[in-house]
């Protein structure tokens, strides 16, 4: 009787225990597929997303970004700011404090010396560190005590969160990499393939360009995590096969970056094995309006500020072009879950997102017609509007891409409804984005009236991105046609806002300025945003805790992933 009772209790507790408070390694084996295979585990020796994400299971930064683009302390106790005194008043130093009791996977303590070493490793003059721009303007990094590090910048740095923040700049172990500085870095195969880290997993076996096996890190700071004992990280193949292996056959638990046609994904989802998830960053598909005249008779002066555009310099024409577009339909046809309509060129992070322009979400063809009528553009032959002998006839170019050509055809039809005639042109992407100053077909040369492409910025701070539309940034012969101000927009008030933002230190003020700049551009209709394009991944229905994050590694919270029944 007694033994039977004990047995029942034992069985019961076995059944309940994992559900009640999961223990480390209780959920067994996790299988991840990335259709590009990592070639190293050292993110400082590779700029590739796949390496950075694979390494993020092992190596961790002081702070990282969450799914909303907000900074979260990771190995540090808190994120230093101006308000809490972690950032000095002159914006030249930032002081980080490590969490107490942190251990490397080999059991040795994590100290501020490791942080200082990481900086030295990446900025070594003979080493080719792929993340060195993270350490731009850093003059010195010094250990104040065993857990405190002070970073000193050569200039005032309103956004001092480059070094040691995010998956691109994790902390590496000084003891392991001590002999791997500079030119010796690539030769330390053992360290580069099996770095000792602080993350939830450690590398058991690394096969370059193929498979990585991980086991749970027994010295991880949270004794209950990670829930999985082993991780297999398979690389290679293509996006379609990866999607199929999670959504249709269930061979894998997680697949990364599935840029597939919406109906293809929807079809796979029908098998019922997995879930498609998406998350949005700053990538915006937009139409750029040329404010200068691209006529070929102007020769070398075409598309330069010397000759304003014959009709696109009229703001009501630009506004009408934007009003005639049905952004929701564009998303439905081109991107499905990987896109959402947007009226901002700066759609994220949340604090930078303006709501002042949301009226563009509704297509308004009668309104656009009324606007053009009021501006004096009268319908002429073939229904095309004219004023003073100038016809609203547009050459609309973009790169060769099935979705973009569909967008062109749709937008051409909408514009024809407001009396604008459109000629379409598509250019091979390698030429269009090639930037060759000898070619007339690059997006910088802009020998067309409007053009369409997508762009975004790295990280979460929009300062340099918003500075793209300064007068001096316009591509022109004097700059060898380089520059980011593709619409050739020029407004002194805008340039003044850029200068203000370069000096502003408080996050709130920076957000206000960024929103104001976004609104200025949007209300001038020099950029017509269409779709906010996101990242799409998929996970098995039995995998819980996944939070897709476009600001950091997708595997940023893998310690919280678990098996759900």
């Amino acid at each position: 009787m007694k033994t039977a009772f004990t047995l029942i209790i034992a069985i019961f507790s076995l059944y309940v225990a994992p559900a009640a408070h999961a223990a480390r390694g209780a959920d067994g084996h996790l299988r991840i597929i990335y259709w590009q295979a990592p070639s190293t585990m050292n993110p400082y020796l590779s700029g590739g997303t796949k390496e950075i994400e694979a390494a993020s299971l092992v190596l961790e930064p002081l702070a990282r970004y969450d799914q909303n683009g907000n900074m979260k302390p990771w190995l540090a106790e808190r994120v230093p700011t101006l308000e809490n005194g972690g950032v000095s008043k002159d914006l030249r130093t930032i002081t980080w404090k490590l969490k107490g009791g942190l251990k490397w996977a080999d059991g040795t303590p994590v100290t501020s010396k490791d942080v200082v070493f990481t900086w030295k490793y990446c900025t070594h003059p003979q080493g080719g560190c792929s993340q060195s721009e993270k350490y731009n303007d850093v003059k010195n990094v010094e250990a104040l005590d065993a857990l405190t590090v002070r970073v000193t910048f050569g200039i005032a740095k309103p956004f001092p969160y480059g070094p040691f923040v995010g998956a691109q700049a994790p902390i590496i172990q000084a003891a392991q990499f001590a002999d791997c500085l500079g030119a010796r870095a690539p030769r330390c195969t053992d360290a580069n393939f099996k770095p000792v880290g602080t993350g939830p997993f450690s590398v058991a076996e690394f096969r370059p360009n193929d498979v990585i096996s991980f086991v749970a890190n027994s010295n991880y700071r949270d004794p209950a995590r990670p829930a999985f004992a082993r991780v297999t990280f398979k690389g290679g193949g293509d996006a379609t096969a990866a999607a199929r292996s999670v959504l249709e056959t269930g061979e894998f638990d997680y697949a990364w970056n599935l840029q597939l046609a919406p109906d293809v994904l929807a079809n796979m989802k029908k098998a019922g094995k997995g879930v498609v998830i998406s998350s949005f960053g700053t990538l915006v598909e937009r139409i750029v309006v040329n404010l200068t005249n691209p006529a070929s008779r102007l020769g070398k002066e075409r598309s330069t500020a010397k000759h304003p555009h014959p009709f696109l310099s009229d703001p009501s024409v630009r506004k009408a072009l934007s009003m005639a577009i049905d952004r929701k339909l564009l998303v439905e046809i081109g991107y499905g879950p990987a896109g959402r309509p947007t009226c901002n060129i700066l759609p994220a992070p949340a604090i930078y997102k303006s709501t002042a322009n949301d009226g563009c979400l509704m297509q308004d063809i009668p309104g656009a017609n009324k606007l053009l009528d009021a501006a004096g553009w009268k319908r002429g032959s073939g229904g095309v509007r004219m004023k003073n002998g100038v016809k609203l006839s547009i050459l609309y170019q973009t790169s060769t891409n099935a979705v973009r050509q569909d967008f062109q055809a749709l937008i051409k039809q909408w514009w024809s409804k407001i009396g604008v005639e459109t000629e379409l042109r598509n250019i091979s992407a390698s030429v269009f984005f090639g930037g060759d100053p000898a070619s007339g077909d690059t997006f910088q040369k802009f020998q067309a009236d409007v053009q369409m492409y997508a762009n975004n910025f790295d990280g979460t701070d929009p300062e340099s991105y918003m500075a793209n539309w300064a007068c001096k940034e316009a591509p022109r012969p004097a700059t060898q046609w380089q520059g980011n101000n593709v619409p050739r927009y020029c407004d002194k008030a805008y340039d003044a806002l850029i200068a203000k933002m370069a000096r502003a230190g408080a996050l709130k003020e920076r957000a206000r300025l960024a929103r104001a700049m976004n609104d200025m551009l949007m209300q001038a209709y020099v950029l017509i945003p269409l779709v906010d394009r996101g990242r799409v991944s998929a996970h098995a229905k039995t995998l819980g805790g996944v939070v897709l994050n476009t600001w950091d590694s997708e595997l940023w919270n893998i310690a919280d992933w678990r098996r759900v029944k």
Binding site: D263, A402, Q405, A409, K412, Q413, R425
Partner: protein, 290 residues
Amino acid sequence: MTSARRGTWAQFRTHRGAVIGAGILLIAAFAVLFGPHLWSIDPHLIDIRARNQGISFAHPLGADRLGRDTLARMLAGGRVSLAVAGAAMGLALSLGAVIGVASGYFRRLDGPLMRLTDLFLALPLLPLLLVIIALFRDALRAAFGPETGIFILIASVIGATSWMKTARIVRGEVLALKEREFVLASGALGAPAGRLIFRHILPGVISPIMISAALGVGDAIITESALSFLGLGFPPDFPTWGRLLYDSTDYLQQYPGRVLWPGLAISLTVLSINYVGDGLRDALDPRTRG
């Protein structure tokens, strides 16, 4: 009708494949010439509610991913594809035949002309096209409008870069033919070079010319679609058979019809021209004529 021509026609008629091929070609030509008048839906019209629709009364061949009518696009596309292929082939054939005959018949021209052919064969086609199009696109667009301008450009570019095989084949045939007794005999009787070429040599080399024409038409259709894909051809919303085929390949599994129709049209056309060429060869070749 002279008796010789009647003989040719009678001979052609006995070749069953050739007659069927000619029939299909005629139907295709009629369809693309008059079809758009009978089936009056605008091939550019986007009807988003009809997106991805299957075969129905309103859309006999279904509608594409933007709801454009496939039948209307097939008809409009066929017009462009056949016109481009015909014009380009006409140009390539005349160039190839003239150069081939001249270099085969006149020994002095042989060296320079064949080296010219080698030169053209060695030219990398794509960079050449890039340069040509970059140089002339704007000028032609301004002179003839975007569509006609590009048509002239594409047809002449394809024609001017695909005559070399014809020229080589014709030259070989001419070299063999001009040493034959009947040609030598005419020469000995004092026939001038022009008469020899037109009366005795050209009829002898008509079959290789026809065959390379048949193969060339298919090539021209495919080259045109490749150019459109690179953004060097017609505007992207301008339907051609090659473009329709290319655009639909992603949907092969879900909507096989969309690949099938343009694919079928291209292969049927090429096959028909092949058979017609075959029949013509039999009919024109003095040796096979009864």
